[in-house]
């Protein structure tokens, strides 16, 4: 799974499940925490989505505000945590 696919899936999830389809202008650098797009409850739901969709469990030591900064930062960590494909 490449970066573009992950970004698109995260964008679709946030646009549909968090913003209820009102996603005009959402991109991978939109500040998720600073603009209040996700709160603590949404973070838990997002981690569940990442686990189901990308089969990646983000370890608790990686869970900081930096991780939830934007879609780009989430994507970077997902790629980092994904088992390398042979």
């Amino acid at each position: 799974m490449n970066r573009t696919v992950i970004v698109e899936q995260l964008k679709n999830y946030i646009a549909q499940d968090v913003l209820g389809g009102k996603d005009i202008g959402l991109d991978e650098t939109t500040p998720l925490l600073a603009w209040g797009l996700i709160n603590s409850l949404e973070m838990v739901k997002l981690l569940r989505f990442i686990r189901q969709c990308f089969k990646v469990d983000i370890s608790t030591d990686k869970l900081s505000a930096d991780f939830f900064t934007d879609i780009a930062s989430i994507t970077n960590l997902i790629l980092e945590q994904m088992p390398s494909q042979s």
Partner: protein, 149 residues
């Protein structure tokens, strides 16, 4: 545990206020076991995810947006599911996007005061006293919820 006399005269251990109970503004229901169940507020203050928020503060910021003529903020849902919804009357035909509004709120307000959703309407309902009819707006939200089920 505080005694009845203490809770009647004081608020969280503070000195008594003119021998009267402290007016928190919360509306509660006394349960059979002696506990109180929170019902709502007797003023316009909103309670969202543990934060007390004055809707007027948010409405003032929203009305700074050039595309918004009037705004009213209310809460739908309770507990963790509570969401702050802004009803806006547009100054022109195009309502601002939710992201645009969140960005505006994040610049001027605390993170806990950033609205969760936005609805554009033709005009805000007004009570006979000339105030925003927030009850009518909450009915609008309920109707919308029912129609999307």
């Amino acid at each position: 545990m505080r005694t009845l006399a203490t809770t009647k005269l004081c608020y969280w251990g503070q000195p008594p206020q003119r021998d009267q109970p402290y007016r928190t503004g919360d509306l509660v229901r006394l349960l059979a076991d002696g506990n109180y169940a929170y019902v709502g507020r007797c003023d316009q203050m909103l309670k969202v995810r543990g934060y007390r928020i004055e809707p007027g503060d948010i409405e003032t910021v929203l009305e700074q947006h050039p595309a918004i003529a009037k705004a009213a903020v209310l809460v739908t849902g309770t507990g963790l599911e509570a969401r702050m919804v802004a009803f806006v009357v547009c100054a022109n035909n195009a309502p601002p996007s939710l992201l645009e509004i969140k960005k505006l709120c994040s610049v001027h307000l605390l993170r806990s005061m950033i609205i969760d959703d936005i609805h554009a309407i033709c005009d805000l309902p007004i009570t006979r006293n000339g105030e925003i009819d927030r009850l009518a707006l909450s009915y609008l939200l309920q109707d919308e919820k029912r129609s999307t089920r």
